[in-house]
Every structure is written in structure tokens, then in C-alpha cells.
């Protein structure tokens, strides 16, 4: 059918060729002739491809499938036809008009590059960054680490509602003495790298934490809820484990290194933020769970050395387990190992322990409970 007029660009020059286009279905070609063309063009219908998503959808712009080095295997020449009957007929008789052609070797490229990208991210997150964090954490001068730890504690105080530094610190003199005795009993004969600075904060949260440089904070809520001095001693031993392993510094360094890596991979699409937050939580949780388990082992060793009954530790974990109630965070999301398993390990340890004595006398324990006045 045809001829109809069209405009043709040869892909070499910007000049427009006015052409006549004839569709020869018998021969299976589209014939393009024009005064400015040196010879008529014969485009095989099977190799015709159309440009897609065009704003002016009444016009049809054609190109040819060809093995070029371009971004897509396409001939650089373009032919635009607007005559409705012709464009409709071409759309009808050309089966591959919308076919997406790929360069040879594209799939291999996709697989190797995907593997490289995934490999690089996994290697960084789980091998290189953790190693780097471990090394840097040992390189940092101890006085800087202490300053950093104090800064963290100050931030924590502020977050817990203190207006001035020291507002939350409990320093009843007798309670302080009892606490010091507990720390001394635990650390006696141990070769620790850090001077411990143990404090009690006046807050009802049942929690304790270790900041860099030997800073340990126990909340009043934990002491009040504890079954006895042995439980508090177990928590302290656990936090000392964190201190000795430099966990806080290591985890902060790791987090700094891996910041943004996940959001980089996922991009900012709808719902992407949720995926990023969830992913970072899982990653962070897996880091800290490891550290928690190691601190538990350290704590049991410390209790055994000091001759303190680890039943207190088991009771404490039972208590935590009870606080969580029926709704439990799945372990892969949680920053701590499951409390039941931790309690069980402490009980197993207690069964094998030799002779033990309470870490504080009943009188001392009552004094410690009143440290916040």
C-alpha cells in the first residue's frame, strides 16, 4: 500500500529527507524513496521496530533492528509516518514492532554484575566493616574512649529527662559503698583493661547499659525488680563483659560504616523506607546479639570466679521473659538472644558451680535498694 509521505533521518546528518513510503507486503519490505536519498531503501518488515511511549501517539517512528554497538541494537536511522491508514497497517503486519532486543552476552553481564554487587555489599557488611571496627576500637586512645563514653552517658541522661548533668545520678553514701563492694567482689583478681565507673540512675526502667571506656549504668528499676543481690551482680558482670569487649565502640563504628549502604541498594521508592528500616534493624540486631551472647559467657565466668550463684542470673532472665508477656519479638529482629535460653544456660551453670556465697549481706542489699533515697 502507499505511497504516503514521511520524514526520514539517516542517522548521519541532521538534515531532513522528505520521502515516499510504500508498504510491499508481498515482498515483506517497506520501501523508502526520496529525491535527496542516493538510492531507495528497502526495510524488511521483520526487522522493523517502533519507538514506544510517544506523546504524539498518532505518529509512528520506525527504526531497524541491527547489530550496532549502541545502547540498544538499533540502526541510527529514523522514519516517521503520520498517515493513519499506513501506520495502522504497519502495526498490523509487523509482528516484532514492540520487540525488545538485547545485545549478545547481556544475561551473562546481568548475572556477573549482580553477583559482584551482592558480594561486595555482603563482604563489606559482614566481613570488612566488622574487622575494621574491631581494629579501630582497639586503636582509639583510652582517654578519648572514656570521653566518648561520658558523652554517651550525658546524652542518655538527657534522653531520660534530666535537665542538668548529674540530676539522675543516685549517690546515697551507704548504697554507694554497697555497690562498690559488689563491684570489688566481682572484679577481685581479674585483670581488667578499664577502670570501671558504675552508676545508678533514678529511673524506673528495668535496664542497664555499658557505654565506651568503662562506663556502666544500672537503672533503679532493675535493682528494685531484681530477686536479690546475685541478680544485680549478674547484670553487672554482663555489662563488664561489654566493657571489656569494647562492644559499644565497636558497634558505633560498625553502624557508622554501614550507614546508608542499604538505602543505597534499595533506592527511595514507595515503601522503600520501611524496607530500609527493617533491614537495618535486622543487621544491627545480628551484630548485637553476638555481643550479648559473648557478654553472657563472660558474666558466667566472672560469677564462677567470684563464687557467686548464677541462679540469680537465671531468675533475672525469667523475670525479663515475664515482662515481655505473650507477645515476643522474633529473635532475628531482637537485639538480645531469647531470654528463656539465657536463663537456662545460667541454671545449667549454677548446677555445676562449686560453693557460693551471696554477693552482699541482706543488710547491704537493703541499703543498695535505697541508693536513690
Amino acid at each position: 500500500m502507499g505511497p504516503v509521505t514521511g520524514s526520514f533521518f539517516d542517522g548521519q546528518h541532521a538534515g531532513r529527507h522528505r520521502v515516499e513510503v510504500t508498504l510491499d507486503e508481498g515482498a515483506g519490505t517497506l520501501i523508502v524513496t526520496g529525491p535527496s536519498l542516493s538510492a531507495p531503501l528497502q526495510w524488511p518488515l521483520g526487522r522493523l521496530r517502533a519507538l514506544e511511549d510517544l506523546a504524539r501517539d498518532y505518529s509512528l517512528t520506525l527504526t531497524l533492528h541491527a547489530e550496532t554497538e549502541d545502547e540498544a541494537p538499533r540502526d541510527p536511522a529514523r522514519l516517521t509516518i503520520r498517515e493513519p491508514a499506513m501506520t495502522a497497517r504497519i502495526r498490523e503486519v509487523c509482528p516484532d514492532l514492540r520487540k525488545r532486543d538485547l545485545h549478545r552476552g547481556t544475561w551473562r553481564k546481568i548475572w556477573t554484575r549482580s553477583a559482584m554487587a551482592i558480594g561486595a555489599v555482603v563482604l563489606m557488611l559482614f566481613v570488612i566493616l566488622p574487622r575494621m571496627a574491631d581494629t579501630l576500637a582497639t586503636l582509639i586512645p583510652i582517654e578519648r574512649e572514656i570521653a566518648f563514653g561520658k558523652s554517651v552517658i550525658a546524652q542518655m541522661e538527657r534522653a531520660l529527662g534530666a535537665t542538668d548533668l548529674g540530676d539522675l545520678r543516685c549517690d546515697g553514701a551507704e548504697g554507694r559503698a554497697a555497690l562498690d563492694r559488689m563491684v570489688a567482689r566481682l572484679t577481685e583478681g581479674q585483670d581488667l583493661q578499664y577502670d570501671l565507673n558504675v552508676q545508678v540512675f533514678d529511673h524506673e526502667m528495668v535496664n542497664a547499659f555499658a557505654a565506651p571506656g568503662g562506663q556502666v549504668v544500672v537503672m533503679r528499676g532493675l535493682i528494685e525488680d531484681a530477686s536479690g543481690p546475685d541478680a544485680v551482680a549478674a547484670v553487672l558482670a554482663h555489662e563488664i563483659g561489654h566493657v571489656e569487649a569494647r562492644d559499644a565502640t565497636r558497634i558505633a563504628l560498625r553502624a557508622a560504616g554501614s550507614a546508608g549502604l542499604l538505602s543505597m541498594v534499595l533506592g527511595d521508592f514507595t515503601g522503600g523506607t520501611i524496607a530500609v528500616v527493617l533491614g537495618e534493624r535486622i543487621m544491627q540486631a545480628s551484630y548485637t546479639r553476638e555481643a550479648e551472647a559473648a557478654a553472657d559467657v563472660f558474666a558466667l565466668d566472672m560469677l564462677n570466679e567470684a563464687g557467686v550463684d548464677s541462679t540469680g542470673m537465671a531468675e533475672f532472665f525469667d523475670h525479663i521473659d515475664g515482662l515481655q508477656g505473650d507477645f515476643k519479638i522474633p529473635e532475628y529482629l531482637s537485639t538480645h538472644p531469647a531470654s528463656e535460653a539465657r536463663a537456662e544456660r545460667a541454671r545449667d551453670n549454677a548446677a555445676e558451680q562449686g560453693a557460693t556465697t551471696p554477693v552482699l549481706s541482706e543488710a547491704e542489699w537493703q541499703v543498695l535498694k535505697g541508693i536513690c533515697g
Binding site: A77, A120, M264, L266, G267, T270
Partner: protein
């Protein structure tokens, strides 16, 4: 070999934008949904389809631009960028954080502690030069994948030079409190224009940066009104009038930014040349354009509110009977709610493109005239540019907007 229809006359071309709301909206919503459902992987193809539509909307009334980029090459470029960035960012961010830690001293007050922690934000420095680097490379890729009359546009390599220049000028602009922003605008535009090509013809940026200085006028005026509002509230004890005036100043300030961008764009277009003798003219109705921006933003706001409202009502009407019917029906209700939520977010994420960006583009394209256009007939093809990382870095750093 050349077409001979315009020999002897000085031909001019008028820009024409053919894109419409509905088809662009359809593409945007469908691709946004697919992107969410594929956990973001489809975004490279989504961007490709949007660009194909927008590029093909821009013409001289006869021949449209063509976007030839592919989703696949963007995906592949992104994978390479991930490898480089994962290693670079991981190591440099941690190193900077460590440096930050070694600067810590014992805090005396909580404010001091907060300030020290803020110092750890220096890890952002790791990304900054890469942002400009990625921006230039993304622009180079976009030009390399744009064709008109079958001829490729293109840009020379020069991303690191651009990054250095941009860092310098941002510093100068910030230190001068924005006073020297025109210097930055002009120098960066000249850097990229002087490295841009259409076929074998180079672009050139003429003009002077000082010509941009007065175009900042309304920005300062807006700031002054805001300050005046603050003064009114604080010193004259008129909080309501002060807030009103500050609000007005804020809108004035925003309009000032739009005006500056439009006017400087027009000036920089009018002082560009292609191949030494093809000139451009942008005659933009600035008032109409500012109105477009504000009305468009208002439309986005209202439609978003309507969509969220409809979503809320939909959730209510889907869940109420489901809860009454029990287990199985609740499951179906939840599926319906999730589908509705995905659709609603896809619609809302498409609104800005359709109601603000495309209308702006429409007005700008329609306002452009190309003088001495018969010279275009002598321009020849340039060779294929593999297009750097096909925007991979820009995408990984969340910089690659569709337009």
C-alpha cells in the same frame, strides 16, 4: 544530500510541548506500582518510560526529541556503582567517624555532649564530592541518550572537575550568605554547557555572571519581609500580625527562588550558542510560571488529601463487614486495604510530576525559539558514548530524578 527546503531563508524554530496529563499520569502510576512490587528494581525501567514520554513531547512542531536510554543499562550501571560505593562509603565513613571520636573531650553539660555527637555528622563529608560527581555523570548520560533528528547529543568527560568547581562554589555561596550564588549558577552552567554537544556541533555559554545579580531581588525582599515579621512580633509585641507578615515573607521568598531560577535560565539560554551561529531565545512569562508552581503545588496538596480521605473511607468500608464476617473475610479485607494503600501511594508519588513538573516544562519549552536554524542541516552525527555509569551513582545516592 541535505534537505533543500530552507536554503536562502533564515529559518527559526519554535518550541512545542505535546505532553498531556492523563497519559503521563498513567505511565507514572503503573510504573510506581511495579517499582513497589519489585522492591525497587523496576525503578530503572520506570524512569526510562517516563523519560521516553517526556522527551517525545518536546519538539519544534515537527521532530521530537528521542530518549534512547534503556532500563537495563541503568540497572547494570547501578550494580557497578553499588560495588564502588559500598567499599568507598564503608571505609571512608568509618574512618571519618573514628576521626570524630578521637576529637572527643569530657563533656561538662548536656549541650556540649550533644554538640560533640553532632560532630560525628562529618561522615556526611564522605558523600558530598560524590554527589556532584554523580550529578555531572547523570547529565552526561542523559545527553548521550537524547537524539533529535536522529543525531545524538553528548557531553565530554569532566565529572571530577565539576565536583571540584561545585564544592568550591557552594562554599563561596554559603560563606557569602547566598550573595555570590549567581557566580555559582553562572560558572557551573558554563562548565557544563561548554562541554555539551549536538552531533559534531559544540555549545558555548556567553554572557556575564554579574547580569544574574539583580535577579535575586525578590529572594532578598522575601527575607526582609520575614525578618520584618519577626521584628514586629518580638519588638512591637504583635505576635499575630508578625506571624502573618512572616508567612507572607516566606511565600515571597519561595516565589523569589522560582523567579531567580526562571530568569537566570532565560538569561543563560539567550546567551548560549550552538556551533557558533545558532542562537536561542527563551521568552518566559515569569508571572504565569510562578502561578503554575503555586497552583500546581496546591493541586498536589488537595488531591493528596482527597486520596488519603478516600483511602481512609475505603479501609473503613472494606474492614467493617470483614470484621463482622470473621477470619477469612478479614484476610480478604486486609489484602484489599494493602492494595488500596499501594495504589494511593503510587498516585500520590506521581502527582508532582503531572501537576508541577510537566506544566513548568510545558511553559518553558513553548517559550523557546531557535534562530538561524537552517544551520542545523549541516550538523553531523557524533560517535556513541557508553554513557559513563548510566546514572548508577546518581541512583545509588538517590539523586536521579526522572526529568
Amino acid at each position: 544530500m541535505m534537505s533543500v527546503n530552507s536554503v536562502g531563508t533564515k529559518e527559526t524554530l519554535e518550541g512545542h510541548y505535546a505532553g498531556q496529563r492523563k497519559p503521563l499520569f498513567n505511565i507514572a502510576v503503573v510504573t510506581a506500582l511495579l517499582t513497589t512490587l519489585t522492591f525497587g528494581i523496576y525503578r530503572f525501567w520506570a524512569k526510562t518510560r517516563l523519560r521516553r514520554y517526556i522527551w517525545s513531547s518536546i519538539s519544534d512542531g515537527r521532530d521530537s526529541l528521542e530518549y534512547t536510554g534503556t532500563g537495563l543499562e541503568k540497572f547494570l550501571g547501578f550494580l557497578v556503582a553499588v560495588v564502588v560505593l559500598a567499599i568507598y562509603l564503608g571505609v571512608v565513613q568509618m574512618g571519618l567517624y573514628y576521626l570524630g571520636l578521637t576529637l572527643f573531650t569530657e563533656p561538662q553539660t548536656t549541650e556540649q555532649a550533644a554538640m560533640q555527637s553532632a560532630a560525628l555528622l562529618i561522615t556526611v563529608l564522605a558523600v558530598l564530592p560524590l554527589v556532584f560527581f554523580a550529578k555531572y555523570r547523570a547529565r552526561r548520560y542523559k545527553l548521550a541518550r537524547t537524539r533529535w533528528r536522529g543525531i545524538r547529543f553528548g557531553a565530554e568527560k569532566g565529572a571530577w572537575g565539576y565536583a571540584a568547581l561545585a564544592m568550591f562554589h557552594w562554599m563561596v555561596s554559603i560563606l557569602s550568605l547566598g550573595l555570590l550564588l549567581p557566580w555559582q549558577t553562572f560558572r557551573l552552567e558554563r562548565y557544563v554547557t561548554d562541554r555539551s554537544w549536538y552531533g559534531d556541533a559544540p555549545f558555548q555559554q556567553g554572557g556575564k555572571w554579574t547580569a544574574l545579580l539583580p535577579m535575586m531581588g525578590h529572594i532578598y525582599l522575601g527575607l526582609l519581609i520575614m525578618l520584618g515579621g519577626g521584628a514586629l512580633a518580638a519588638m512591637m509585641n504583635l505576635p499575630q500580625e508578625g506571624a502573618l507578615m512572616a508567612g507572607l515573607g516566606y511565600f515571597w521568598f519561595i516565589a523569589g527562588i522560582v523567579l531567580y531560577r526562571v530568569k537566570s535560565f532565560a538569561y543563560l539560554t539567550n546567551t548560549k550558542a550552538l556551533d557558533g551561529n545558532i542562537h536561542f531565545e527563551a521568552e518566559i512569562d515569569t508571572t504565569a510560571l510562578v502561578a503554575t508552581v503555586f497552583l500546581g503545588a496546591l493541586a498536589v496538596l488537595l488531591i493528596s488529601a482527597a486520596v488519603y480521605g478516600a483511602l481512609g473511607a475505603g479501609i473503613f468500608f472494606a474492614m467493617m463487614p470483614a470484621v463482622l464476617m470473621g477470619q477469612g473475610a478479614i484476610f480478604i479485607g486486609v489484602i484489599l486495604v494493602i492494595a488500596g494503600y499501594l495504589l494511593a501511594t503510587a498516585v500520590i508519588s506521581s502527582l508532582a510530576l503531572v501537576w508541577v513538573i510537566q506544566p513548568i516544562l510545558h511553559q518553558i519549552v513553548d517559550s523557546i525559539t531557535v534562530h538561524n536554524a537552517d544551520e542545523l542541516n549541516f550538523i553531523e552525527q557524533r560517535s556513541f558514548d557508553e554513557g559513563a555509569d548510566a546514572e548508577g551513582f546518581a541512583d545509588a545516592l538517590d539523586l536521579a530524578a526522572p526529568v
